[in-house]
Amino acid sequence: MTQAATPATPGRIGLSSRDYWPFVAPALIVVGSVIVFPWVFTIYMAMHEWKAGGAQSFVGLGNFARLASDARFLESIVHTLLYTGLAVTAPVVLGVFSAVIFHERFPLRGLLRGLFIMPMMATPVAIALVWVMMFHPQLGVLNYLLSFVGLGPLTWVFNPATVIPSLVLVETWQWTPLVMLIVLGGLASLPTEPYESALIDGASRWQMFRHITWPMILPFVMVAVIIRTIDALKSFDIIFAITQGGPGTASETINIYLYNTAFAYYNMGYGSAIAVVFFIIVVALSLVMLWLRQRSKWNADAGAAA
């Protein structure tokens, strides 16, 4: 099959390298120019002291060495992980909960589902600007609402201690519907027989959820977790528009620091080094995710559907 020494007989597909290259080339060119080249170039830049408008010089792994002792960078890793952890957990828990509710039949379900999904459709920056107003410690509606339930005013994003949870609140508000949609899809595909037999066996609602629904929707939940993790890790718009990483550096994630380094300080080399490290973190997390997904996939059919 590999040798096509004689011209192919009519109807037979030749497989010499000369023949298949034209078909492979477009894909190679695209992959090469949008994935491989930027990557190699980023690594190249990361090995240079490179400032916009200035000369560049080779520093080898100097930028990476500097990262290891850069307190602001190390802090930003912690912020990123904390932010991601919270911004995955909260929407997934609430999303599964609301999916189970919206899976029940009750009047106006369609309308309520539609309303519930609306935050997801809005532009993050626009949302962020609205939330900034709502967070305002003196004029914001959130503190006004708190005053009704007898709580004192909070300073929300204007306080280093509460800024990350407050940002996660926005993220949760926006992305819980997505998790709900994914899980609802899973719920809709579940067979009814196990429930019938469970009812006959006298199982309680909680037992049915715990032992039938939950295991069967777990693959869907894992998909939601993976999508949320990817989104939360790369989250930029909401944080940037609301706090720009502040107060101080209290909500500065790797992304924000990377952005500041490359596009506010014009320090392309150092910024590229951050990008490389960020990439490694993302790959590591992805591997963990894939491993978790494999584990949750004991139900092969549902896993394949996801």
């Binding site: 400032k51 916009a52 408008g53 200035g54 000369a55 305002h136 410690p137 003196q138 004029l139 005013p153 300073t155 929300w156 994003v157 204007f158 306080n159 280093p160 800024v163 706090t243 720009q244 990483g245 502040g246 107060p247 101080g248 550096t249 500041n260 596009f263 506010a264 300080y265 014009y266 320090n267």
Partner: protein
Amino acid sequence: MAYISRRGLIQGAGALGAAGLAGPAFAQSAMNWKKFAGQKIEVTLVKSPRADIIEKGLPEFKALTGLEVGFEQIPEQQARQKQVIELTSGKPSFDVIHESFHVQKRLFEKSGWVADLSGLMADASITGPETVESDFSSAGLMFSKNQQGKLRALPQSVDYWIVYYNKELFDKKGVKYPDTFEEMIAAAEKLTDPKEGVYGFVARGLKNANLPVFTSFLLGFGVDPVDAKGNLMTDTPEAIEAGKIYQRLLSKHAPPGAIGFNWSECQSAFMQGKVAMWLDGIGFAPPLEDPNKSRIVGKVGYGLMPKGPKTRASATFGDGLSIPSASTKKEAAWLFAQWAVSKEQGRALITTGSGVPFRHSVLNDPSIRTQLKMPAAWLDTVAESAKISRLGLPVIIPVTEFRDTIGIGLTNTLSGGDVAAELKKASDAFRPVLEKSEKG
């Protein structure tokens, strides 16, 4: 000349144009506004009330010159990025750009991105008699000339830092407008009443944005953030004192959350009538006097920056227009820049309170008083501030990094950090960056 408006001239010129005659004012000079009629230039400005004024006047400019103008306003942060990326590429898409002197001056100079305008200014065929260096204030020339004395921008608008104060709150407590830093702190303390939701002082706490607040105090100690020899002065004893004032005013006498405030949050807090003093740039005044937005119309005092232990200084910032060296239509772009900083445009700028032109001929013109849409006190404070003007940010390349690094230290002091330790840490972090940038 005073009674002939430019619009009148254009109409006149249009009527006479067929016969090839220029209007009366042009007869005195060889200047020909129409020299490049038909060409198209691209103008990219930072979104601001100043750019709005220019945009409003565009039809007039097009009629005057016959030039086509592609005009774009982009928010500040994005605009600065776009400029750097496009100028680095060597083929920028614009012929006229906004330059924030206090941030970009040194970067633009060192990288050679913007053209020397001296030659264009000397060319009488494209420069009107009113566009002369001597009509620009010294601050403007300082901003727009490089170290070799070459003009590399036309100064458009200057921003002095002043203290907006709520006269009603001051009167209620019988407090006088402060004359010194000490009086200012005392007044802020007296006017703060958290039970009423009233606070004595507000200013930017957000990192980066907060730096001019700090330098406003630092300058009062007679110290610039970077001295003439290029030494970083932000951890000197004076800086620590200035930092303590900043910390005290913003954490004890300011609304909770001020740590995250930029000018807009400060402005809205002040406009609600809940804050007695707000230290910020003079250009933020118009909304305060707008009954649709503000609850304190007519109650706003415009105070001169109080005197520090050494001197009285108003931190000063400025904006101008530059032409990229890589532009192929520099002359046409020059016509635009020249028109954009002309007397008429300057008058529109100041009478609406949108900005303060650098031109003596506008500021000294008594007729602007009658057309002024702002209170007369505002204009008086402009004039007084001009006398005590001092650069609010150092003229260095890594301005943004400077603002961020020191700004983070300052913000940290608001959440309980020790001023001396935070400033030392921030200054130590920034010093190598500064040294490297000046070597390169």
